[in-house]
Subunit: 114 residues, 2 copies
DNA sequence: CAAATATACATAGAAGTTCGATGTATAAAA
DNA sequence: TTTTATACATCGAACTTCTATGTATATTTG
């Protein structure tokens, strides 16, 4: 069970985060666990990796944050996707489809199911 | 007709270069034209981008170079993929398949796909 | 035939990224 | 009560991409 390359992780980080936030609001720590689970351990973000990405996305206006107190009494910074973020996700999905078509063409395999 | 994001290009650079060299030996300038053509202009490497990547791949032993004189009389640095490079390409292909499975899984969570 | 363009390689520096290390703080479990 | 899990944050090293710049030669155009 190997981990994926830095480059592939980097390319998928933003679409994955935005996709997760499209479904439900979430917070940094949970997003890390969520991605780890969904990817079967193949994508494991450190906190020092994810938090700056969230800050960057917020600064660009793609997500919005609000502090909340969980039932546990613990403070959490919840993130929601913005309408700008939804537009961006749409573009990212199209880009992902495009690169898959290019790669498939080069590899001469059937285009991917995405 | 938009260009792809830096991240997606970065993730695909090495597999694309190695794939091209699997078919035929080639040289920097030609690889740039080749990728531009295959991608329908969506991936356009500058020379300052590609040459350092080729040097890096050679340093890592994934490709090998040799100077040749073309019929035109022009000097060209031809690159071939090494057996190490073929192994690496196999891994890269597997990684690409994996990330696609993860991404498609995440996108299936929400109903409105592109 | 002179000038412009295309071919062909190379490096430097700016800007941006990932990621391990480190720090703070609190709740839950051992 | 000590450890582990939860939850946020920043820093600096290492690496990347990309624009700009430089060198040089062949081909095409005016």
């Amino acid at each position: 069970m190997e981990k994926l390359s830095k480059e592939l992780i980097g390319a998928s980080t933003i679409p994955i985060i935005l996709s997760i936030l499209t479904k439900n609001e979430s917070y940094g720590y949970e997003i890390i666990q969520n991605i780890k689970e969904i990817s079967g351990g193949k994508i494991e973000f450190g906190e020092g990796t994810l938090y700056p990405v969230l800050h960057k996305l917020e600064k660009k206006g793609l997500i919005e944050s609000s502090w909340k107190i969980a039932e546990s009494g613990r403070k959490r910074k919840y993130y929601n996707i913005s309408s700008e973020g939804e537009k961006e996700l749409k573009i990212e999905k199209e880009n992902w489809t495009t690169i898959n078509q290019i790669i498939s063409k080069i590899w001469k395999i059937e285009p991917n199911l995405i």
